[in-house]
């Protein structure tokens, strides 16, 4: 039995009524009429969390993450399915949930502890430790209403981590206080990890998820979209989100100055753009860093003597960042003839995870005017199989030099 948390077929249905009156009507009709809309916040969710591991939960707003966290912490109840938590659970769904503005930090601190299941005496014993961690100093005796929101959060976090659970459920609470305190919070969570606690961690910070968690669970529309290695799942999720977010294609249009109008018919133009693995005819939709890739641009240039051309190929991340662009002009390659195909061969793709628009342009001789541009039909999705962060792979190695201890001079 190595699982700390087991979840089987967990589903949660919410009912929403147009007005409070409709609820009464429905109750009065004794099941004859129904006036509510159903909304499944979770649908058949299955997963296990191994003891001592950390699982990150990611997903868009409203995907069901919080519902899942709430069910596992026992504040709300599933419609169907089962789950089991083997060990004492402590959840941080919201910091300072039970705080009362009129009471002092000290009183709230102790009260919060009692709400979490400690006795007053235990809280009094722990008080100094928690107070010190909160760094509130003399403010601890002031009523909570005089606190800044950051200070209240600090107090909340300090109480929350004073517990000694076997399973810790954390719902996006790291926006706590200033940078210094945030670091302390993260350190504290790491400490839990190192002590072999099981952690369920929900965050929008993919960075934190990758750093803290072994595995990640991507929740989409109440279902599990992906469950696996934290790096892979977060990368995939990030790529998916970017693709949703931005219509990158609109951006490329305005990128370069257009050629003078009126000469349209004789213009050089791009007839086709294809992205494929060398030796394959098939369009490449997904690839990994380090793979070889060819981008082929077919062009027509009715009057090459009048319009000398150059071809540029660029990779644009969907958040509008131009990641890299190669051009025949920069590289001193001529593009002759009335028609042809220019192939950009990339022996090792250096891009890391993301979704990229592959776009091509035909430029004039000096590379100032753009005659035509075109995108590859499909975006290129790069999925990293390794743990890494950022946009590009770079060659690297590590060398660690341990400083030699300097003995006393005499």
């Amino acid at each position: 039995m190595n699982h700390a948390i087991e979840v089987r077929g967990l589903s949660k249905k919410y009912k929403s009524y147009p007005t409070p009156g409709h609820r009464i009507l429905e109750a009065l009709s004794l099941g004859q009429r129904s006036f509510h809309r159903e909304h499944w916040a979770l649908r058949d969710v299955d997963f296990d969390v191994a003891k001592g591991s950390a699982l990150g939960i990611i997903g868009a707003n409203g995907a069901g993450k919080s519902t899942l966290m709430k069910i596992l912490s026992g504040t709300t109840f599933q419609t169907s399915g089962t789950f089991a938590c083997h060990g004492r659970v402590s959840s941080m769904l919201e910091l300072g949930a039970g705080f009362h503005a009129e009471f002092s930090g000290r009183e709230n601190l102790i009260m919060n502890g009692i709400m979490m299941g400690y006795s007053r005496r235990e809280m009094l014993e722990k008080f100094d430790e928690i107070w010190e961690f909160s760094e509130l100093g003399a403010f601890i005796e002031e009523p909570l209403r005089t606190y800044s929101s950051g200070m209240a959060m600090r107090l909340g976090f300090s109480v929350a981590v004073a517990v000694d659970p076997e399973i810790l459920i954390i719902d996006e609470i790291f926006a706590v206080g200033d940078m210094h305190f945030q670091k302390k919070c993260i350190d504290k969570i790491y400490e839990f990890r190192e002590r072999g606690k099981t952690i369920l961690f929900c965050s929008h910070s993919l960075y934190d998820i990758r750093q803290l968690c072994d595995q990640a669970l991507w929740v989409r529309d109440g279902r599990i979209a992906r469950h696996g290695d934290a790096t892979l799942v977060t990368n995939e999720y990030a790529a998916f989100e970017r693709a949703l977010d931005i219509d990158a294609k609109a951006v490329v249009e305005g990128d370069l100055p257009a050629a003078p109008k009126g000469a349209k018919e004789q213009h050089p133009r791009i007839t086709e753009v294809r992205v494929y693995r060398p030796g394959s005819e098939e369009e490449c939709r997904e690839c990994s860093p380090g793979e070889a890739l060819d981008v082929a641009v077919s062009y027509e240039n009715p009057d090459p003597s009048r319009y000398p051309i150059h071809i540029g190929i660029g990779f644009l991340r969907s958040d509008q960042t131009l990641c890299i662009a190669n051009s025949t002009q920069f590289d001193g390659v001529a593009v002759p003839g009335e028609s042809g195909t220019a192939v950009l061969h990339i022996p090792r793709l250096q891009l890391l995870s993301g979704t990229f628009v592959v776009f091509c342009v035909i430029l004039d001789g000096p590379g100032i005017h753009r005659y035509d541009n075109r995108m590859a039909k499909q975006d290129l999705v790069v999925l990293s199989r390794e743990r890494n962060l950022g946009l590009f792979a770079q060659d690297h190695r590590w060398k660690i030099e341990v400083a030699r201890e300097v003995g006393p001079i005499s």
Binding site: M1, H3, E6, R8, Y14, P20, R23, I24, A27, K70, I71, L72, S73, G74, T75, T76, F77, Q78, T82, F83, A84, C85, H86, G87, V89, S91, L93, E94, A97, G98, H100, E102, F103, E107, I110, M111, I114, M115, M116, G117, Y118, S119, R120
Partner: protein, 314 residues
Amino acid sequence: MSEGGSISAPLGERAYGVHRTLPPVLAVFELPRILWEHRELVKAMARRSLKARFRGSVLGLLWPLIHPFCLFWIYLFVFSRIFPSRKDFFASELVLLGDVSQVLRDNYYFAVYLFSGILAWTAFGEAVHRNAQAITGNGNLIKKMAFPSEVMPLAECLATLAIQVFGTSVFLGFMFVGGLWPAPGPAQLLIWPILLVLQLVFTYGLSLIVGTLQVFLRDTDHILGVLITFWMFLTPIFWSPHIEALQGYVGYFEWNPMFHLIQAYRNVLIHPGCDWLSWEAWRPVLVFAGVGLGMLWLGVWFFQSKRKRFADEI
């Protein structure tokens, strides 16, 4: 549960040691255990609820003493100066007092009479009315902390009961000053805590019901405001059931549980002639005890059968 890997129990229940095994209809039998397990929480919440009312005020916890003190003088003034002498009232009530010659200050006695009823009613009415918000007003706690939510209405009931105890001490002071002490013999006062407990049981049961109703029907709070006032006037607080004109209706009063409670309180607090060896003296106590336990069972049943939906509805 930690071995074998069967996952039958919904373990969210156990997160904070709130371990429930009985179905809602029987849940009242494990209520004492749950409350005992969370006694620290009950105590802390009740204390906080009491403190919160007076927090920030200069006189603080003196207010539960000052308030009944002022109230008494107001009654005395109103019923001695503004209202005409209540001959019919005294004719009936003074019989119960026995030695009429001791009570020449009729109006003073009337004020004491009102006071004895209003202490219990205020605590009851206020607790029930406040507890309409016990769940909806603590949404943050219900949604964000796994928490035995039945503690919240109880804490509120205990806080109002504490205020009643303060008030009763002021009341006994007025009894003493007015020469009515010891209307209740010291032995009679031993029954007073029993009444407090029974009142708590009834109030808590009803609080669980209104607190739950409010979650699903936000009009409950407003309806209660009207109902409690109406109920108060149906209960012999400002009038006496012993007056001649009402003798035909006593049978109807019996349907009001609070009628019995107020009668019992008066038997303890102001009727020196009450014979506690007689059936007549114990009858209101026993009737109210029965109704109180029934209300508690009903309240816990209703509350527990809806509890799982609280977090989704608030």
